[in-house]
C-alpha cells in the first residue's frame, strides 16, 4: 500500500454550552465529511484526532494531505455538537505534529491553560 502524506491541523473549537468530548467531536467531524462529500471521502480522509483538550477546545487532528480541504471545510460548517453550539477554527497546518508546537504554545498562553 502506498503511504500517503499526512497533514496535522491545530484547531480551536469555540463553544457555548457543555464541554464537547473527544468522541463527540470526532463523530461530528466524520458525520460532516460524510454529509458533504460521501462515504469514500470519509474513508480516504484517514481522519483522526491526535490530541484534544475538551476544557479549552484546543486540539490537533490528522488527515491525508489530499483530503485536507474536505476535512477542514466539513469541520467549518459544523454548527453544533451534542448540546453545544460550536464554531470550528483551524489555526495552523503542518506536515508534522512537531511543526505545530510553537502555534500550540501560543494558543495555550492565549487560553490560559
Amino acid at each position: 500500500m502506498r503511504s500517503q502524506r499526512k497533514r496535522h491541523v491545530l484547531f480551536v473549537v469555540h463553544r457555548a454550552g457543555p464541554p464537547v468530548n473527544e468522541k463527540q467531536l470526532s463523530q461530528a467531524l466524520r458525520r460532516s465529511i460524510l454529509m458533504l462529500y460521501g462515504e469514500t471521502a470519509v474513508a480516504d480522509s484517514r481522519f483522526y484526532l491526535d490530541k484534544y483538550d475538551e476544557a479549552t477546545g484546543i486540539g490537533i487532528l490528522q488527515c491525508t494531505s489530499e483530503s485536507l480541504s474536505n476535512v477542514l471545510t466539513a469541520a467549518c460548517v459544523i454548527s453544533s455538537v451534542g448540546e453545544s453550539r460550536v464554531s470550528f477554527d483551524p489555526k495552523l497546518t503542518s506536515g508534522t505534529i512537531k511543526g505545530l508546537a510553537a502555534g500550540q504554545a501560543s494558543l495555550n498562553n492565549l487560553y490560559l491553560v
Partner: protein, 231 residues
C-alpha cells in the same frame, strides 16, 4: 485586516458578545444593521463596529429612495439579488457596495452581464454562510448549488466575492480562516479565497469611511488639503 460584513444583532446589549467573539476569531471589525448612531463605533475591546444598511424595497424607485436616505449613515450598503432591473441598477450605482445572494433563490441568479457591470463599478457579490450552517442534506445541497453558480458567474466576470457569517448569535460566526475553507466549498480557490475575507471587505469599508469624511465629493475627485497625505 478581516471584517465580517453581516452580523444580525437585534439588541444593543448583544453587541459586546459579538465583539468579543470577533476579537477571539481574529476579526478587526464587523458590520451590523443595528442603529449605532453613527457609521462606525469602536467597541470596548477595540473591534470596530460598522453600520450596514440592507435595501429591502420591492421596486427600483423604492430602492433608489432608500439608498439616498441611508448612504451617508452607513459604512456598508447591500442590495439583495432579486429582479433584473433592481440588480442592474445596483451593479452600477456607486452608492451600493454589495449584491447579496439569498439562500436557495433559484429564480434570481446573477447574470454574466450584471456581474461584469458590478466588477467594473466595484460592487462585490456577498454570500451569507448562515444558510450552509443551519441546514443539512438536500436543503443544504440546493443552497450550495445556488451559491456555487452565483460565485462562478462572479469570478468569471472578475467581480469580487465576500463571505459574511450573517450570524444571529456569536457562535454562528466563523473565523477568517474558516471562511476561506467555506469559500473552497463554493468553488473559490487560491487568491480568491484570501481576497474574500481579508482584502475585499476591508477595502469596501475603508472606501466608504473615506468618502464619508467628505474629502471625496464624487467618484475620482478627492480634496487634498495642504500638507495632507495623498492616498
Amino acid at each position: 485586516m478581516s471584517i465580517d460584513l453581516c452580523i444580525r444583532i437585534d439588541r444593543p446589549e448583544s453587541l459586546p458578545g459579538f465583539a468579543a467573539m470577533a476579537k477571539t476569531l481574529g476579526f478587526a471589525g464587523l458590520a451590523t444593521s443595528l442603529d449605532l448612531g453613527s457609521p462606525s463605533i469602536v467597541a470596548e475591546n477595540g473591534i470596530v463596529v460598522y453600520r450596514r444598511a440592507e435595501l429591502n424595497g420591492r421596486s427600483l424607485s423604492t430602492m433608489k429612495h432608500q439608498v439616498a436616505q441611508v448612504r451617508r449613515q452607513s459604512a456598508v450598503v447591500a442590495v439583495p439579488l432579486r429582479g433584473a432591473d433592481v440588480i442592474n441598477w445596483a451593479a452600477e450605482d456607486p452608492r451600493v457596495d454589495l449584491i447579496t445572494v439569498i439562500d436557495d433563490n433559484r429564480d434570481n441568479m446573477l447574470r454574466e452581464s450584471t456581474a461584469k457591470l458590478a466588477a467594473k463599478h466595484d460592487v462585490a457579490l456577498e454570500i451569507k454562510v448562515s444558510g450552509l450552517l443551519e441546514t443539512s442534506g438536500l436543503d443544504r445541497s440546493r443552497i450550495i448549488k445556488t451559491f456555487r453558480e452565483n460565485v462562478t458567474t462572479a469570478v468569471h466576470a472578475g467581480q469580487h466575492v465576500v463571505l459574511s457569517s450573517d450570524a444571529s448569535d456569536p457562535l454562528g460566526m466563523r473565523s477568517p480562516t474558516a471562511m476561506q475553507w467555506i469559500g473552497n466549498l463554493l468553488g473559490l480557490e487560491g487568491a480568491h479565497m484570501k481576497d474574500l475575507v481579508e482584502t475585499t471587505s476591508a477595502d469596501i469599508v475603508a472606501r466608504n469611511i473615506r468618502k464619508m469624511a467628505s474629502s471625496v465629493p464624487g467618484s475620482g475627485i478627492e480634496i487634498v488639503r495642504e500638507g495632507g497625505r495623498v492616498e
